[in-house]
Amino acid sequence: MSSQAILCVDDEQIVLWNLRDQITRNFGDRFVYEVAESADEAWEVIEDLAEDGVKIIAIVSDWLMPGTKGDEFLIQVHDRFPNVVTVMLTGQADREAIERTYQFANLHAYIAKPWDETTLMDTIRSGLEKLNS
């Protein structure tokens, strides 16, 4: 079993299902793929994975969610895991929030919904490559 995980965070399950299927299909069994419907849940997942010795390497997060919003969440993650590749996938976001995320969470990419599968996968891949280099 892989010791690296990619986490998708979105309050919409229909997004999560399809996103996970896309990523799974593109990256196969190289990683563990987890989903969470909110930032809080995402943290739970991160904790759970850590217990199993699985490390988060990339997070694809929505911006507008109940509770903690995407930018804040990514900044928090970046604080604890500075190497995690962060991608924001959202239908709409404040320009300010995106700027902030770029600055404080080392945001790898911002992708608008509806998204193109290839673009998204290429983005994640480029992020991971940057990580490995």
Binding site: I14, N18, D21, V35, E41, G67, G91
Partner: protein, 781 residues
């Protein structure tokens, strides 16, 4: 204070007169005071002449009665003076010893001589202290000389003889038991000790009333010898009274102080009922007029004895005024009589009445004349005024062409001329005014047109403002709406790609896999494929993870390989229970491949489901947006559900709410009401938008819809910071905003209030920190 009261009365009186005068016509106003003056003057003259008449009557009465009384007084004096004089002569004769009182026969003849003398006295008598008596009388109307004698020869009797002038007894007429010392005249003289008048007393025969002048005679040793007595003929007094003329119906009575009648024009001093003679009292007079006078005198003076001097009184008798005058007779010493004279006013009233009639006639004549003159004067004065008045009235109606002709050189003539000038000027002025008015009307019309245009502009501007407010809200919404639509779109796109990928994968793997599978595995596979579409329950990611853990444990306990991958795949498909039929495929060495293929088939199914859900979501947003943004105003009200309107807004605000607002909805079963749904949507938008902003996207939003007292009540409560009291009054005013410039027009709540008012409803606010409630009441009818 009295002064104030007086001036108050005066002022109120003058006010009343002024009020009365204001209502009265001029002609009447001029005539009435004139007539009133005349009436006053004539009335006064009449009154005084009447009073004078009365006074002169009183004078006349006074004179008349006084004359009569004076006559009586003289008569009485006359009547009484002679006997006294005679008695004093006799007394002188006795003193000069010319007459011996003890010689009764000498006395008898002496007395006879006196009696026979004309004009002295008709009666003279002497009674001595021994009880003897000599009395001679020659009373008028009796042609006999009578001697009454009582001496030693007659014993206890008094004998009455007729005698001749030669002093010789002719005939014994009768005798009676008698003692002069017991008679009233004797006693009166003894008591008075000098000349006096006896009281009126009844004669021995009790047939007549007697009254005497008496004088006691004393010896040198002051011993009483006897009493001289001269009777006075009261009959003569009565006759005298009878001859007196006091008008036609006047009465005179002479009475003693005790009221006993001495003489009267109506009564005899004695009354002769069948038994015994008694004296007449004035109160019992046969003449009712005298009785009434006696009563009036008593009322005035109390009793007769109190009258000291001549007094005239008047009293009412049978509806007429009667004069009565009383006078004490004081001509003689020791005589105390009263003369009462009575005259009814009717004696003179005829004359007075004639005077009064003449006065009244004169008064009426003067009155008629004065009214006539007054009317003529008033007419003369008012005629031009009436004409001017008529002309002025005509002018008032609008007939300006007036010319009043008054051919007079006085003030009225001038007035008429001035009036005519004025009327002409007025006519000119009026025409000018008319022209001016026309211009003014045109201007007014123009102004009204401007006004209308302006109103229209204001209305348009207001409409535009409302629209811009709406668009401002819409602008804020669009960002959220983009997210709301992009999310399902993203899901749809991903799903379609996933379907393609899953289809390819399953198509490439399925034929080979089916060939490799044992019959048990095939059966299990078929069961799995059948189960998947029936898994209706959508698990949350958390539940899915839990399921994955559970499945992994179960699978491990059954010694199945690749548990992590298999548990992952199964949990993704939401397979909760592992039936025995599934065991063959799970235990197969190709288990991961079989399950991956099954998952590919499941993805196709679920992606379809995703698409359906996403399309629904997008459609809902678009629908809400369309509802909200619809710009045309419904011309008339339509029946619409309030809750639907609120739901539309909530849909649009879904993404804003989901950040941290917990929405509690409590919709009672509320009937649809006639309303303008688009406008109400704007109300809900504003209120919900404000609520979310007030809470800064964190907190609780409670929406309640219910019916109360024929109203639909919508309560929108937020847990925000609340509205300060000083703002609560103003928040419904247009352009009131606490937001920084550019963020709000300040029209939101003003528009809300306008819309609610348009529905005949009300909007209220209750606010405190942590709980702000807007209450909208809309009438159901």
């Amino acid at each position: 204070m009295p002064h104030t009261l007086f001036s108050m009365i005066i002022s109120s009186l003058s006010q009343k007169i002024a009020k009365l005068a204001a209502k009265t016509r001029l002609q009447t106003l001029l005539t009435v005071p004139f007539v009133l003056q005349i009436v006053g003057a004539v009335g006064l003259v009449g009154y005084f002449s009447f009073q004078n008449g009365r006074r002169s009557v009183e004078n006349l009465v006074n004179q008349l009665i006084s004359q009569a009384e004076d006559g009586i007084e003289h008569r009485v004096e006359d009547l009484l003076a002679k006997p006294e004089a005679v008695q004093r002569q006799i007394l002188a004769a006795v003193k000069t010893k010319n007459l011996d009182l003890n010689n009764l026969s000498q006395l008898q003849c002496y007395f006879l001589q006196i009696v026979l003398e004309e004009d002295l006295t008709e009666h003279i008598a002497f009674g001595n202290s021994k009880g003897e008596l000599i009395s001679i009388d020659d009373k008028e109307g009796k042609d006999k000389i009578i001697l009454k004698i009582k001496d030693r020869s007659t014993g206890k009797y008094r004998q009455v003889y007729q005698i001749n002038p030669q002093c010789q007894r002719i005939k014994l007429l009768g005798k009676v038991l008698y003692d002069p010392r017991l008679r009233p005249w004797y006693k009166a003289a003894v008591a008075a000790k000098s000349h006096t008048w006896s009281p009126l007393f009844l004669s021995v025969s009790e047939s007549e009333l007697e009254f005497s002048s008496v004088i006691p005679i004393y010896s040198d040793t002051k011993e009483l010898i006897g009493v001289l007595n001269s009777e006075i003929d009261l009959e003569e007094l009565t006759q005298f009274l009878g001859n007196l003329e006091i008008g036609d119906s006047g009465e005179i009575s002479i009475v003693e102080r005790n009221g006993m009648v001495v003489a009267s024009t109506s009564d005899s001093p004695t009354i002769n009922p069948s038994r015994g003679t008694s004296r007449q009292h004035i109160d019992n007079s046969s003449n009712p007029l005298i009785r009434a006078a006696a009563e009036a005198i008593r009322q005035k003076f109390g009793s007769l004895s109190k009258i000291k001097e001549r007094s005239l009184i008047t009293f009412e008798y049978q509806g007429q005024r009667v004069f009565a005058q009383v006078k004490p007779l004081k001509s003689q010493d020791n005589l105390d009589w009263l003369v009462v004279g009575i005259i009814p006013e009717t004696e003179f009233i005829a004359e007075i009445n004639v005077n009064t009639y003449i006065t009244i006639l004169l008064c009426l004549l003067a009155l008629s004349l004065s009214i006539l003159i007054g009317l003529l004067t008033a007419r003369w004065v008012t005629q031009p005024l009436v004409r001017l008045n008529a002309a002025a009235k005509e002018i008032a109606i609008g007939n300006l062409n007036q010319n009043v002709v008054v051919n007079r050189q006085d003030e009225f003539g001038e007035l008429a001329q001035s009036f005519n000038t004025m009327a002409t000027k007025l006519q000119f002025a009026f025409e000018e005014l008319k022209a001016l008015n026309t211009t003014l009307a045109e201007r007014e019309q123009q102004l009204a047109d401007y006004n209308r245009t302006l109103e229209e502009r204001v209305r348009q501007r207001t409409q535009e403002l409302i629209k811009s407010e709406k668009l401002a809200v819409l602008g804020q919404l669009v960002a959220g709406v983009a997210h709301e639509i992009n999310t399902p779109l993203g899901a749809i796109q991903a799903a379609s790609e996933n379907i393609s990928a899953a289809f390819e994968r399953s198509m490439s793997r399925l034929p080979q896999l089916l060939l490799q599978m044992t019959p048990d595995e095939l059966k299990g596979f078929m069961v799995l494929l059948e189960t998947i579409p029936k898994t209706q329950e959508i698990l949350s990611s958390k539940e899915e993870r839990q399921l994955k853990r559970n499945l992994k444990q179960t699978l491990e306990s059954k010694n199945i390989e690749n548990t992590t991958i298999i548990a992952d795949t199964l949990s993704k498909m939401g397979l909760i229970t592992l039936t025995d039929e599934l065991m063959p495929i799970l235990q197969s060495k190709n288990n991961t491949s079989i399950l991956e293929t099954a998952y590919s088939l499941f993805v196709m199914h679920r992606s379809n489901q995703t698409t359906r859900l996403a399309v629904g979501r997008a459609a809902k947003i678009v629908f809400a947006l369309k509802n909200y943004a619809r710009q045309e105003q419904t011309a008339s009200k339509v029946k619409a559900s309030i809750a639907d309107g609120i739901e539309t807004v909530l849909t649009l605000y879904h993404n804003q709410l989901k950040r941290g607002v917990e929405v509690t909805k409590s919709y009672a079963d509320v009937p649809p009401i006639l309303c303008y749904p688009e406008e109400l949507t704007q109300v809900w938008t504003n209120l919900i938008h404000n609520a979310i902003q007030a809470m800064d996207y964190q907190g609780e939003l409670a929406i309640a819809v219910f019916v109360k007292e024929r109203h639909v009540v919508v309560e929108i409560t937020d847990s925000g910071c609340g509205i300060p009291l000083e703002h609560q009054e103003k928040i419904f005013e247009p352009f009131f905003t606490t937001k920084p410039p550019g963020e709000g027009t300040g029209l939101g709540l003003d528009i809300v209030r306008q819309i609610v008012n348009k529905h005949g409803g009300k909007i209220k606010l209750e606010s405190q920190p942590g709980r702000t409630k807007f209450i909208v009441l809309l009438p159901i009818d």
